[in-house]
């Protein structure tokens, strides 16, 4: 029996190239389930990705899809949305793609409040290039370029997005699939820059280096350490240990999105009927 979400995949491009146990497939499926839930028109939805293991997802999804250059998905997506605001534009990016090489585009995308839904696949590592440290590799964790443990401090991409002006900010994990789907669906609903951090496992490049090579164990780590926002807010500080992190909707405010604001510019300039 064909499951309802299967029509959103390019069956002839599968199986995917991800390692066994990789979390990317779970997050990709959560995205299409959010799309299905929101009833987005498949012909009017564009998936834009950067470069990385996670960014290969665009090729498997049956929409107009764009696999850009490393870090540049948000500028391309901005151009698509402004050129044709009737399109739903969803961005797939990795922790390195979004917060290292694409960091500047990320904060300015948030600031402009372009109506995009950005899903960051956070596996805490540069997966595709074989396990180098990213700006979201937690301090003290190991990577091929941090063989003695990272001394860099890591970004909290959600706090970064909120501070930069994103109008919808949420986090979930590959373990909490239903919750993740809901968080993405909420982002699609928000008419503005929506950012969803999806924590997912990379057993090959991150797990093996950090005594968590078993993908099931990595997911149990998510189960055991993720704390729903409402509970997190009540948690005393001494219980917020290094491994624990909040998930849920952190921020959602309605603000005029960029394309709508630009329509006013066109009105003022007298180009509305052109």
């Amino acid at each position: 029996m064909e499951r309802s979400f299967e029509k959103y995949f390019r069956q002839n491009r599968l199986p995917h190239l991800w390692c066994p146990g990789c979390g990317n497939g779970i997050v990709m499926k959560a995205i299409v389930q959010a799309i299905e839930k929101k009833g987005l028109d498949q012909d009017k939805t564009v998936i834009v990705s950067g470069i990385g293991c996670s960014s290969r997802a665009s090729g498997y999804m049956d929409f107009d899809t764009l696999h850009t250059a490393h870090g540049r998905a948000i500028p391309f997506a901005t151009g698509i949305k402004l050129a044709n605001p009737e399109l739903n534009v969803i961005v797939i990016t990795g922790d390195g793609d979004c917060t290292a090489i694409g960091g500047n585009h990320f904060i300015h995308g948030c600031r402009r409040n372009v109506d995009l839904t950005v899903v960051l696949f956070n596996n805490s590592i540069y997966g595709m290039t074989g396990g180098q440290a990213s700006p979201m590799t937690p301090t003290h964790k190991k990577a091929t370029t941090a063989p003695y443990g990272a001394i860099d401090r890591n970004f909290d991409a959600c706090r970064l997005a909120e501070a930069a002006g994103a109008t919808y900010v949420a986090r979930s994990t590959a373990f909490h699939v239903q919750h993740l789907t809901d968080m993405i669906a909420g982002g699609i609903d928000n008419k503005g820059f929506s950012f969803i951090e999806a924590i997912c496992q990379c057993p090959t490049s991150f797990g093996r280096k950090n005594k968590m090579a078993d993908p099931a164990k990595m997911m149990m780590w998510m189960r055991d350490n993720a704390v729903m926002k409402a509970a997190w807010d009540k948690l005393p500080d001494d219980k917020k240990t290094e491994e624990k992190f909040p998930i849920g909707l952190f921020y959602n405010e309605s603000e005029t999105d960029y394309a709508t604001a630009y329509n006013e510019v066109i009105q003022i300039a007298g180009g509305a009927d052109k």
Binding site: Q42, D43, G59, D64, E86, K274
Partner: protein, 382 residues
């Protein structure tokens, strides 16, 4: 009748792009190209188009490629350091066959160089400024009116060949003010966005080349569910690690431009009918070269000028023809010597080729090029 207006080269470039159907611009300010961004910010919304100031030139390049994929004709403009930042995504446009125009109002480099001073030092960057094998079209205007005309041409070529086109201006023409009469809209030929020739059900593939070797790729949002990537891909648009496809795609990208080379390589000749010597120049420098040639003629030297409007692909045929008939060629360029290498390659020893180079942040004086002509006539440098 359109009225004559006093305008700057950069402004004419904006007018030309709009006349050619451009409805999207993304940019970041940098002298001496800034007036193009400012002009676009002012005029685009008056025709229902959009302007966006991005956080840097990399983003500017990305945003115009996204807009183009979604169906809008799109332009970005920059200079020196900004063009260097755009390079990776210029290659993306070549690989993914996305129509786009990049205006480079050249200034003195390398690095921050001389920010407000004229130069023609980006001739080779225009040709090779991204990694890997790729073809390139670059046009260079010498007047304000021609800034308009080449802007139209650049947009048309980008659409026709689905390739990035560089409008290689220089500070001289960019900031030059002249009285110009722009053509009526009805007199301007516009190359429309190419359209898919069949439906998905009929087996549409977004990168199947047409007879002219250019694909009829759909825009996003038209129901074709296309995939666009900077990875080497076959007709389906999907990446494939095949030596055969890699070879075929690389070849086709070059050949789609090569087979139209005669048509897109524009060269103008002045005083060449009886010329025994020729000065080769382009852009703002050609204005001075023209005066130098006219002065030399008054002194009785049979010298003419060959002006390249199309810089890339290089005018092999025209230069070869001239090398057959003249006793010597002088290449005048505002750099340490870039185009001269191409002229030498094509002339291949048929006549002497001398370089008249200037790279001191000032424009040529006619006397400097005249001195070059005198040396050429006297049989080369002492």
């Amino acid at each position: 009748m359109s009225k004559a207006r006093l305008m700057q080269g950069n402004e004419a470039c904006v007018e030309g792009a709009l006349a050619a159907g451009v409805r999207f611009f993304g940019g970041y300010p940098i002298t001496p190209s800034t007036e193009i961004a400012e002009g676009m910010a002012k005029l685009l919304p008056t025709v229902g188009g959009k302007f966006v100031q991005m956080e840097d030139e990399i983003a500017s390049m990305g945003v115009v490629l996204g807009a183009s994929l979604a169906g809008k004709k799109a332009v970005t403009a920059s200079s020196g350091p900004g063009i260097s930042l755009k390079q990776e995504l210029i290659g993306y446009a070549a690989a993914a066959e996305i129509p786009v125009v990049i205006v480079n109002v050249q200034r003195v480099g390398p690095s921050t160089g001389q920010p407000t001073a004229p130069s023609q030092g980006d001739v080779m960057q225009a040709r090779w400024g991204t990694h890997g094998d790729h073809p390139m079209i670059a046009l260079s205007p010498w007047s304000v009116r021609e800034a308009f005309d080449t802007a139209v041409m650049a947009v048309n070529y980008s659409e026709r060949f689905r390739t990035p086109v560089i409008l290689l201006m220089d500070e001289i023409v960019g900031h030059l003010r002249e009285k110009v009469e722009l053509p009526e809209a009805s007199a301007i030929e516009i190359y429309p966005r190419r359209k898919p020739t069949c439906s998905r059900a009929e087996g549409y593939q977004p990168f199947t080349p047409d007879k002219d070797l250019v694909p009829n790729t759909a825009n996003f949002g038209e129901g074709y569910h296309i995939h666009v990537t900077g990875l080497i891909h076959d007709d389906t648009g999907f990446p494939i690690g095949s030596p055969k496809i890699t070879r075929e795609v690389t070849k086709r990208l070059h050949e789609k431009i090569d087979i139209a080379r005669d048509e897109i390589t524009h060269v103008e000749e002045y005083f060449m009918d009886d010329a025994e010597y020729a000065v080769v120049a382009f852009g703002g420098t050609a204005r001075t070269a023209y005066e130098a040639v006219a002065n030399a003629r008054k002194k009785g030297i049979k010298v003419g000028m060959v002006r390249l409007i199309t810089i890339w692909p290089f005018a092999d045929k025209a230069i070869k023809k001239i090398a057959e008939k003249v006793k010597g060629i002088l290449v005048a360029e505002l750099n340490y010597g870039q185009l001269v290498g191409e002229v030498e390659r094509v002339v291949a020893g048929k006549c002497p080729v001398e370089l008249c180079a200037k790279y001191d942040m000032t424009i040529f004086e006619p006397a400097e090029i005249e001195a070059g002509i005198d040396e050429l006539v006297a049989g080369g440098k002492a």
